[in-house]
Symmetry: D2
């Protein structure tokens, strides 16, 4: 086995570069994966642009599909050569946050092991997986074997996009017969649409403007697609729901406009399920919030991780309930990753997600 590998590294704002780095060492609880397929996330673009700060020299990427190359001395229940995925969020399983059900808020360094977003480690606080190899911490909590018969691309959305989008539907506690609006049909919004459909929503209204995304939304389960450049989405949703509003509105973009529109389309007692990564303060308009008296709920969800989550998501794929392959619109080799970033960050050529193969 070689000593070094290729990895996409954050150099400085505006620059992610493929570099040669040492292959990671594994500690007793870790595993080393040889990456077979990975992808780029919108968050990686924020990192690229310097909007989300990470350490210079860090390997980027948090969506690994790969093969176990080496196991830490204390890791049991796996074997080398096994094909696995790990979630974008890699909970330890043993923190106070994990043990009370907030795996994504796992962390270390504070007295009680609580730190916002502490569960997101890959490409954030430790080296990520846009590389030939990645070290997975707390392997026993995180490695999920891929069922035979599923290709890398079929499970490539599980680590982040699917887990996050479905999480938005789940945190909204969608019920059979609900009306649901999903604002923005990028990869996460599309997965939220699929999640809403899987949970039994009977009126799903997707809001988007890019024709390719509108088409995929329809194909993946939206009953109505509103082009917000043609019609005020709040009015359109009021009309479609016969003045009633929606039970759940899912925000999947991260802007004031969509956050606010979500509030405005909710029925009294409805839930705004927020998935977006915001870049500024948010404003809650008094009227949309019924002055605080509307029994509204606003819930936020960070991508759920851990091997059990991954197992369940792969079950969804294996059962044929959802097919997310339409999201993979482009394919690159790892040594083309700078080109992939260029395409993806400029949303050229109808790109939704790219598959990167070392």
């Amino acid at each position: 086995m070689p000593r070094t590998m290729k990895a996409a590294v954050f150099v400085e704002p505006g620059r992610i570069q493929l570099q040669e780095k040492p292959i990671p060492e594994v500690g007793p609880l870790d595993a080393l994966l040889r990456i077979t397929t990975t992808t780029i996330c919108g968050t990686d673009v924020h990192i690229l642009k310097g909007e989300y700060p990470v350490a210079k020299g860090l390997t980027i990427g948090h969506e690994p599909v790969g093969v176990i190359e080496r196991l830490g001395s204390a890791v049991q229940g796996y074997r080398e050569g096994q094909r696995v995925i790990a979630g974008a969020i890699t909970p330890s399983g043993h923190s106070n946050a994990c043990l009370c059900g907030f795996c994504a808020q796992d962390g270390a360094g504070t007295k009680h092991g609580w730190k916002p977003i502490g569960g997101w480690k890959f490409g954030n606080t430790i080296d990520g997986c846009q590389a030939e190899y990645v070290r997975v911490p707390d392997a026993m909590a995180n490695l999920a074997p891929v069922p035979d018969g599923l290709t890398d691309e079929q499970v490539l959305m599980c680590p982040d996009i699917m887990s996050t989008g479905f999480g938005g539907a789940e945190s909204g506690a969608i019920r059979i017969g609900d009306a649901v609006a999903v604002f923005a049909q990028g990869p996460i919004g599309l997965c939220a649409t699929v999640g809403a459909r899987l949970m039994g929503a009977t009126t799903i209204i997707a809001v988007e403007r890019v024709p390719e995304r509108m088409a995929v939304a329809k194909r993946l389960g939206a009953d109505h697609v509103v082009d917000f450049t043609q019609e005020d989405p709040v009015e359109a949703i009021r009309r479609i729901t016969d003045g009633r509003g929606v039970d759940v509105a899912i925000e999947a973009l991260g802007t004031q406009a969509t956050f606010e529109a979500c509030l405005r389309v909710l029925r009294p007692g409805g839930t705004l399920s927020s998935l977006g990564v915001y870049s500024g303060d948010l404003r809650i308009p008094l009227d949309a919030f019924a002055a605080g008296l509307g029994d509204h709920r606003i819930v936020t969800t960070l991508c759920p991780g851990g091997k059990e989550r991954m197992r369940r998501l792969m079950e969804v794929i294996a059962s044929g309930r959802a097919d997310l392959r339409p999201l993979v619109t482009h394919r690159f080799r790892l040594d083309q990753i700078e080109e992939a970033y260029d395409l993806f960050s400029h949303q050229r050529d109808g790109v939704l997600k790219v598959a990167i193969t070392p």
Copy 2:
């Protein structure tokens, strides 16, 4: 029986006046109550000041304790002369909102019977109970007999203050062992403190500055009382919780400052339970919200009503689990109500709540 009665009527902004009005007629589903005790709410002061608009000539007040004087032709299960209360919110029981569990958002006039805050009728959309008599709509859903042995003043907080304050604790889903902060210790905040205590919170931090209210907060169950004029409450709460933050923060004032402080003291995955009636747009600071990635929840609660809610709250009083009599600091006759408004709206003389007896 007389034909007319005395009633506190909204005349114009700045002026609520005792007037002579006809005693209400009862429809088939209604009941007529002879009021024996009632009180003034902070919301009534908003009405007085013209900040919350109601029709001129409307009788104000939504916290009735009284005796059944007459029953509508279709009302069963009660008898005249029975001592009862009704909630501030009077759900019909048969609206779509009620039938899916949002009784407070009950209403009429829209296609599906949903209208924000539609369940609040007394002193808002129909004549209220600061009067000698009040008509209670949908009597069978709303009249709750007062257990023998409880005085009017013992149950006077049930219709609104106690139901709302407890509702804040319940919507926060407080669990045994939680740390809870309650911002503002007016009547609703004090009841939220009591509710948090009853649900098993083990660290209850009340934030206030009025010495009398701080003292009552201590007496009713707060473990710590932070005077926000002496110490930054966010820092104080971080210190008290050993850097961990609270599981649930309850907003009981209705201002940007308290709303924002609630967010800042939450642990990741924590819940902001909002009770305040806001008078302007709210701002969610990006950092306090972990950019939308902290698994935070913001929930709002309008005072739960209906006879089963009232029955339960009176059980709390009857069992001795809570004694809210310390909240009644002043007493007036109905014909002194303008004086009572003057005292209450200026928060003079350490007033918390007043009892008004016709």
Copy 3:
């Protein structure tokens, strides 16, 4: 309008007969429906056989589709001539049971208005709807307008079968990715299968032996159908789930054998959702229950009713998410109802449900 009507009446055990009866009077809260389509339920067969006792002379039937013929004096929000359904369970909306969310356990006559199964009135405690007309109590809580474009037969399953079957899936709190077993694929079991599918279960295992029912189960969403006369269903389910067991097992028959098998196929922490109407004591085997230490849950559900429930179920039909027309296998006129009972009670000719039209 005539004074009398035809109605299927319980005469004595073994005999339900079409008789001439007065058309019901309506009280202030009632509505009179002219029945356009109705059906026969397994419970009606229990009544026919004398296994479930009802008063002699009672009109049977609890699944009405019809047209509003007359409205009580206090009923608002409807108009005569409107096409509606009502649930098999007709909650008042104003009982303590309703107001704390247990509409099906509504009732009267006890101090607090709680009585098991008190919400089931049609064809149980008041005249039912296998007749030309039926009186609907508490009309405002129960009448649900049928959306244009849906036929009687499309919504005929909503009042009972669909509400009950879906209720089993909902009470089981099925989540995306769950494995679910449904024991028995009669009309209720089939609807439970559909409900499980709608909520996102990814492995649905139906247990049955009647070939026609097995075929419909496959068509409506079961991934696996186990013929329990060919293979032990507990072993089959263990095999299909790779030794893991199911997250939720739904009992839809009402026997010891199926109840016990449900327990035996549950994973630790799994939920047995029971829909069956049992006719004898049940036994919980010690080993299947892990001596009480398996974090198992057993939940029971009586058919949820009320107009909001009916509205939601009709949304499911209108959206095309479920098509339950395959359940209607036979059609009869009301004057053929004795023949219909004969066919249905002997489960001849592959019957699932019959449509009866006056």
Copy 4:
């Protein structure tokens, strides 16, 4: 440090004996505790009698209070000499069961890491803590530092009795204003009574016959104590609740009689929360179960474990909300443990729990 220690070992049915054994080795994820206080559980008596089978030679006991003597090579976040407790149930944190919230059903050896009761290891599948030292597996998920100022005896109930009893109240989802019955007031039933009180139940009815236990029940929060040798408890509870029944009934003994009585006192829609360890099949009487139509729920709970649970329970003690010292009625040195077993297993001298100090 010595090489051997004293430990209470299961020799054969009827015989637990203090023996000299090697002090355990620690693996990378383990910790070695020096026990300072422990206790005997009812389950240990089942083991003693041979009713619950364990391996011969196993050290018994699952309720450790102690000091960290040594830490495994991969354990971080603790230091030697720290005073800690661990729960009776020691979840790994990284199993599929743990990661979907069923820590107590953790396990190994099956394909997906699910095995009923697999989380209970101490004194069941690995050596326990009635010894001078104990090896704690998965130390990072299980060691909870004891707050300064709390004595060993104050936290001695946390690992099992308190966690289990409180768990019964929590799984029952007790709400403010509930009526709750607790059948049997042994140590677990007493803790369930305390839990019910902490969660806001306003009518708590304890059923017992031993005068000392009845007295402690009163002292710890029961509103009514029914002596079932003097009065039929089902009738007594119906009377106390005015015919309404209880919202939640907690079974804390493990017999058919108490299980059945729990069902009989439930209101429709009520919850039976079962804590008992049963020793035979259970029977559900048809009438008590409303033939499966009463919207009843039966939930079971195995003692929740893990360090976050222990932290919360110690918070309850530290805050003064509960004082469980009255449960420790007798004290023994470890070398008197056979005598302690004799007293405890025969329930002599009003014993509730014993404290054992090496």
